[in-house]
C-alpha cells in the first residue's frame, strides 16, 4: 500500500474524531478546521511511523499537539484556572432557548447547553482528558500516550474534571 492509500484507508476514517477533539480544544470551528488540516498533512508525511499502532489514537495525538501549539501561541497569559467561570457564563448565555419547544425537548436542550458550556469552560488540559475519555472512549494508557503525561496524571485530571462538571450540574439542578 502506498503512503497515500494507507492514509486514506487508516487515517481518514477518523476525521470526525480528529475534528471533534480540535473543535473542543480550540473552541472555534474555523481554527479547528485549520488544525485538523495541518495535523492530517503532518500525519500523511509521517505515515511510515504508523506501524501497527491504533491509527485513531495516533492521529488524535498529532491533532492534540497541533491544537496545543495553537493554544500556546494564542494565549497571552498562562491559563491557570481549571474552570473558567466567565467562559461558562458566556457559553451558557450565548444559546437562546426556543419558546415553542415541548417541555421535554426544552429540558434536553438545556442540558446540552449546560454540558457544552461546562466542558468548554474547563482548562485545556482537563478538557482534553474529558473529550478523549468520554467522547472517544479511549483507555487511560491511550490518553496518557496522546497527552504525553503519566497514567496517574490522566486519572487525577479526569477526576478533577468530573468533579467540576458534577458540581456545575448539581448547582443547576439538572444533574444527578
Amino acid at each position: 500500500m502506498s503512503g497515500r492509500q494507507t492514509f486514506e484507508a487508516l487515517v481518514l476514517p477518523h476525521l470526525d474524531a480528529a475534528y471533534n477533539l480540535a473543535r473542543w480544544l480550540l473552541r472555534d470551528p474555523s481554527a479547528a478546521e485549520d488544525a485538523v488540516q495541518e495535523a492530517s498533512l503532518r500525519a500523511f508525511r509521517y505515515i511510515d511511523s504508523l506501524r501497527g499502532d491504533d491509527a485513531r489514537a495516533w492521529l488524535l495525538g498529532i491533532v492534540r499537539n497541533t491544537c496545543f501549539t495553537v493554544l500556546e501561541r494564542r494565549r497571552s497569559a498562562p491559563e491557570v484556572v481549571e474552570f473558567d467561570e466567565s467562559e461558562f457564563e458566556a457559553a451558557l448565555g450565548a444559546t437562546g432557548h426556543g419558546g415553542s419547544d415541548p417541555a421535554a425537548l426544552l429540558e434536553q436542550r438545556k442540558l446540552r447547553t449546560l454540558l457544552d458550556a461546562a466542558i468548554r469552560a474547563l482548562s485545556p488540559a482537563l478538557r482534553e482528558v474529558i473529550v478523549l475519555r468520554e467522547f472517544e472512549d479511549l483507555d487511560y494508557a491511550q490518553i496518557a500516550q496522546i497527552a504525553a503525561v503519566p497514567v496517574g496524571t490522566v486519572m487525577s485530571r479526569l477526576s478533577r474534571a468530573r468533579e467540576k462538571l458534577r458540581s456545575v450540574l448539581s448547582q443547576s439542578n439538572l444533574g444527578h
Partner: protein, 228 residues
C-alpha cells in the same frame, strides 16, 4: 470507576455535542494529500527518470476511472504549479521566502526533521535534494538548530534550516548557485531578510529577530562555512 462517574459519562455521551467534521474538510484534506503525494513522486519528464529504474506508471494504479482522472488532474497541477511558480508575478523572491517563513510558523511546521544534531539533519536531506546543503551547529553561539524542512520556491526544491534564539525563529533557505554575492540585508513586512551567495550555495535568512541578531547569525554562518 464509581457509579457517579458512570452517570456523568452517560450524560456527556448522550447529551454533549459531538462535532462532526464539515464535508468540505475531508475533500480539502484529500486534495492536499494528493498534491503533496504528486509533488513527491518524480514526474515522468524529470531528467533523473533516465538513470533510475522505471517507476510505477501513473496509469497502472487501477483505481477506476474517477480516481485516475483525479490523479491526472493532480498530475497536471503538479506540472503547472512549478511552472506558475517559475513565473515571477512581480513579487520579489524575498517576499515569497517571508511568506514561506510565516506559513511554517503559523502551521507549527518549522521542521520536518526535528533535531539539534546536524548529523541527523544533514543526512535527512539525502534523497530529498540533488545537492548537499551545509548544516552547521551554532548552539554554542546561542543559535540552536531546531531542524530542517523542504520548501518549494519558484520551482526550486530548497533546503530550509530553522534555528532559534530567545523564542525567535530564523529560517535559512539554502540552494545551489554559482554566483558570488555580497551580504545584503532588507526589511520586508517587518522581517529582516539577509541574502548572500558564496559561489557554491545561495543563502536567504529570514527572521523577525532584530538587525544585530540576524547579522550576528549571518556572520557566524559565513565564518563557519568558510572554515569547513
Amino acid at each position: 470507576m464509581s457509579t457517579e462517574d458512570d452517570d456523568l459519562s452517560a450524560l456527556i455521551r448522550q447529551h454533549a455535542t459531538h462535532h462532526a467534521a464539515p464535508d468540505g474538510l475531508r475533500a480539502s484534506i484529500r486534495t492536499q494529500v494528493a498534491l503533496e503525494d504528486a509533488r513527491r513522486t518524480p514526474l515522468p519528464a524529470a531528467p533523473r527518470a533516465a538513470d533510475a529504474p522505471p517507476r510505477r506508471s501513473w496509469f497502472s494504479f487501477g483505481w477506476g476511472t474517477a480516481s485516475t482522472s483525479f490523479a491526472l488532474g493532480m498530475l497536471c497541477m503538479a506540472l503547472l504549479v512549478p511552472l506558475a511558480q517559475r513565473v515571477n508575478f512581480g513579487e520579489p523572491l524575498d517576499a515569497d521566502l517571508v511568506a514561506d517563513h510565516v506559513r511554517a510558523l503559523q502551521s507549527g511546521s518549522i521542521a520536518e526533521v526535528m533535531s539539534s544534531d546536524r548529523h541527523t539533519v544533514k543526512p535527512w536531506f539525502q534523497g530529498r535534494l540533488d545537492y548537499a546543503p551545509p548544516v552547521i551547529d551554532l548552539a554554542s553561539d546561542g543559535f540552536p538548530l531546531v531542524g530542517g524542512r523542504i520548501e518549494h520556491v519558484r520551482g526550486e526544491v530548497v533546503a530550509t534550516l530553522a534555528y532559534t534564539r530567545n523564542r525567535h525563529v530564523v529560517d535559512l533557505f539554502v540552494w545551489p548557485s554559482s554566483e558570488h554575492k555580497p551580504t545584503v540585508r532588507q526589511v520586508r513586512r517587518g522581517f529582516n531578510v539577509v541574502h548572500w551567495a558564496d559561489g557554491s550555495m545561495q543563502y536567504w535568512a529570514v527572521s523577525d529577530m532584530d538587525r544585530e541578531e540576524i547579522e550576528s547569525f549571518t556572520r557566524l554562518w559565513q565564518q563557519r562555512t568558510a572554515a569547513q
